[in-house]
Subunit: 308 residues, 4 copies
Amino acid sequence: MPLPSPLTGVVPPVCTPLTPDREVDVPSLRRLVDHLAAAGVDGLFVLGSTSEAAYLTDRQRRLVTETVVSHAAGRLPVLAGVIDMTTPRVLDHVTAVTAAGADAVVVTAPFYTRTHPAEIARHFRLVAGRSPVPVIAYDIPVAVHTKLPAGLVLELAADGVLAGLKDSSGDLAAFREVVTGSRGLSGFSALTGAELTVDAALALGADGAVPGLANVDPDGYVRLDRLCRAGDWERARAEQERLCGLFRMTGAGDPARMGGSSAALGAFKAALHLRGVIDCPATAEPQVPLSQEETECVAKYLAAAGLT
Amino acid sequence: MPLPSPLTGVVPPVCTPLTPDREVDVPSLRRLVDHLAAAGVDGLFVLGSTSEAAYLTDRQRRLVTETVVSHAAGRLPVLAGVIDMTTPRVLDHVTAVTAAGADAVVVTAPFYTRTHPAEIARHFRLVAGRSPVPVIAYDIPVAVHTKLPAGLVLELAADGVLAGLKDSSGDLAAFREVVTGSRGLSGFSALTGAELTVDAALALGADGAVPGLANVDPDGYVRLDRLCRAGDWERARAEQERLCGLFRMTGAGDPARMGGSSAALGAFKAALHLRGVIDCPATAEPQVPLSQEETECVAKYLAAAGLT
Amino acid sequence: MPLPSPLTGVVPPVCTPLTPDREVDVPSLRRLVDHLAAAGVDGLFVLGSTSEAAYLTDRQRRLVTETVVSHAAGRLPVLAGVIDMTTPRVLDHVTAVTAAGADAVVVTAPFYTRTHPAEIARHFRLVAGRSPVPVIAYDIPVAVHTKLPAGLVLELAADGVLAGLKDSSGDLAAFREVVTGSRGLSGFSALTGAELTVDAALALGADGAVPGLANVDPDGYVRLDRLCRAGDWERARAEQERLCGLFRMTGAGDPARMGGSSAALGAFKAALHLRGVIDCPATAEPQVPLSQEETECVAKYLAAAGLT
Amino acid sequence: MPLPSPLTGVVPPVCTPLTPDREVDVPSLRRLVDHLAAAGVDGLFVLGSTSEAAYLTDRQRRLVTETVVSHAAGRLPVLAGVIDMTTPRVLDHVTAVTAAGADAVVVTAPFYTRTHPAEIARHFRLVAGRSPVPVIAYDIPVAVHTKLPAGLVLELAADGVLAGLKDSSGDLAAFREVVTGSRGLSGFSALTGAELTVDAALALGADGAVPGLANVDPDGYVRLDRLCRAGDWERARAEQERLCGLFRMTGAGDPARMGGSSAALGAFKAALHLRGVIDCPATAEPQVPLSQEETECVAKYLAAAGLT
């Protein structure tokens, strides 16, 4: 299906359920898609950071995209991450995910290499020139160690290179510059990836949100989105605060024992497992799994947020 | 051929010559191998950062490894980088390069994700457990944004997980800790990737060097290595200083216009082209090419170092 | 006068006007205080980053505090920064500014040294234990290179060590954690220093704002604060966007020629000079002054925002 | 006394002994000076990072400088750090330490503010223009968060602005560029602050070293310096390795409980106390003191290095 122009609303970055031996758990993935679709989300984003794309082999990435595209079956647009270091490698992923039916690709700045803004611009232009589907920029400095300058995003948007931005930088002021600067550009989608300030992003004019936590509580984010659209800011804030409380589950994993990815993705998957959506909470190697006690802590956050 | 234990001497990270349309230039690559072998280097390292591994597709990586392995034809051991974000993806590269005949794999810490030292250790243990050839750790914080702690390297070395370290951190004090700490571990190779302080690294006990600049002047590095082994520190220093002067070619590219990778790799390839070793100085996308004027500046550095 | 508990509203970080030979320009500083007071601001913050505290000698700091305290004359509370590297040096500044009449002190985490969260906590506890006036934490990672963890701020707030937080981290999600977590703590002030998202900060419950740009347009920020308090979010957003447009003046200075402090403080002072509030736009050494052309660019932003 | 031109040999950054209530312990400081002078060091550097300058009040800084200058009594040149954020504040320290008799000042790049290389250059030029004694640049990125570019140091050296460089960056390749680039500049001193690679620095042509660990074992560093000057690289390496083993005392403090400054300075002072040089091992606030057990660990490193 063609990507809505602009894409709005809640577009969860879909977790990738794994079996105990770290294969893609296709039945669980289908159930997760149903879980999200039933809540009324507006699109699905596969192979993002929350999907553990960095940990999936090319074969697994293909399987994930095919599974989600075929199971979504046109009900929802499917965006696919093409996360890799540089242009030639990203282009291979573009070929793979569009062959598998993705409706848009989500592209980060180059990483591993030492990059210059001129090279970042060149990267997006080359990828867009070769992609059969729209390109959405993925600003995630914590992963790629450069921040996409707002001016660059707007320049590429004005030139038709970018159809949107997923902003996971946490820098709301810079995101605002893109939101206000792109107002005249019909079809450009400014999406926030910051799950704790979705109300703020929508209030300043964002088109939608791509919150990792929406795997666990898609109904909450759909509700939040609707309250914001209705201008009911007081209840929106209350809903957002409930979700912020739920997000604290990502602090269950002991930082002395594991990294931030292990703790956040481990908690999301533990919660999906506890909620009965997926069969196994395993995360990909070399992430450290949550302990029994840490998983019980996740359960408490679910209960406190009314998800039991 | 089995990896020498320990591997010593000069092991250049082999540049990947490209055609004007960015395909691997196999004839030029073979000539580059001959150029290095003729100088008397002790091994070849393909698919490292200097090889533009981050820019090569999987197909190109395979072609490079096969070409170099078959052309080296047992004359020299071939180490292959398996640069990717996490364990499962790295393991796919291990399968590919060992199928193509690599004698060892060179593995970085995970990147893109937010990692913990415990996860880095787990990563190396898992890769080593599945690799049919020895594993050499690649410490390159400028690319992966974490530094391999010396204590961790020594622990993994003592456990037989690591057969060596290529240190591109620029932190000579930490490297020294590995060198002195691994003295009792027979077969462990401590290799420096810092081309400007090879004399210092060898003086404190390093086994060898993996200098990117050795593509341009392999004779110089082989000479330097021999002077150091002979304890002729005065002439070693003079040779190293000549190579430092040559290295300034990496400053020819205007930093206002390009990133550090473009400038360094662009200069090495321009020099190889000017020396008649490779047919085309092109670097992979999205790197910015050197201008005509910048290439002339590279030529001047070659001339100043006596390479014309 | 005692610090309001909680302090709310607009508390500009007061610029420090300088003479052409870099002495504190007392008459201009008094006019600036009047300019801010006339707009209806709720407090004054001297010796913050916007005040060029990092550039002022101890003698100049004393003169600034005395001038503003005596000219405010009890009309407005005066907060004073005590920016220095560690506890003993900060305590000397606490003595100086409270002798000069400051109603509260604003304290950063230690810098220059390599600090641990336990040491940061110890620092605030020691300073608060010796300060005769309330202590407000100043979270400014861009300057001190550590972020105050929300949990630490809340722990110190609960223990009565901190009377408030000025958040200049740009991390709205972490700020929100402090805002919601401190709701039960009567008297604690959560203030945002992020001038481009004041509406968002107030919407999620912040008590007030400390916007550097309020030097140039205090009326705008007072208006914005009132619209937010009235729940008129649509007009608040429009006012905030006008101020975001005005803030672009900080991009007038050429980043190839000067650092971020020079550009931002140079623009604010150029604007104050153009508006007739201060006599001279000089910034302290070693900052690079704006050129004539760059100053004209600032004038255009003033005109575009209706300030002429 | 005039600063030797160039200054060569071992110039310890002198620790600042404190009493249990954190006052400068003048008798201990005098004993420390004697301890260093007796070992044959070539100069004394007060108010550096190892001296806890960041923690000393202006009054304490003055007392330290006066004490060391008067006790050195012309036997040794005394360099003094003037560590502060920007030019005007640094100039006040220049006035203070030269009034107290310092023979040279040691100046970092500006910090706390966001600086540009042009501003760093301006800073050094302004300070040198007003200093009655020679200016030595202090490159310490871990503290000030910018690296002094080698080209800038050489430009300022050629212009007579800088009389030397103390390099605490750990970047031996960049330091080498300064060493070789300044060879023609008579009187310029290139000093390394990296205590674990003094042999390497001297081998490539450095004039001397400023090792914090020389407080604990000045005889070792003097011996090392003489072996290097004599070209006895083998014995120099052995001596350096013994000192590297001793330096491990800085790892005695638990990193889960304290920062790097606390651990390093705490260990140096514990060792000086254990060796009977100073009366009390206290470090300045808010540093965390070593535990009894950690202090015993320091004692073991002293014993292992033959210092009992």
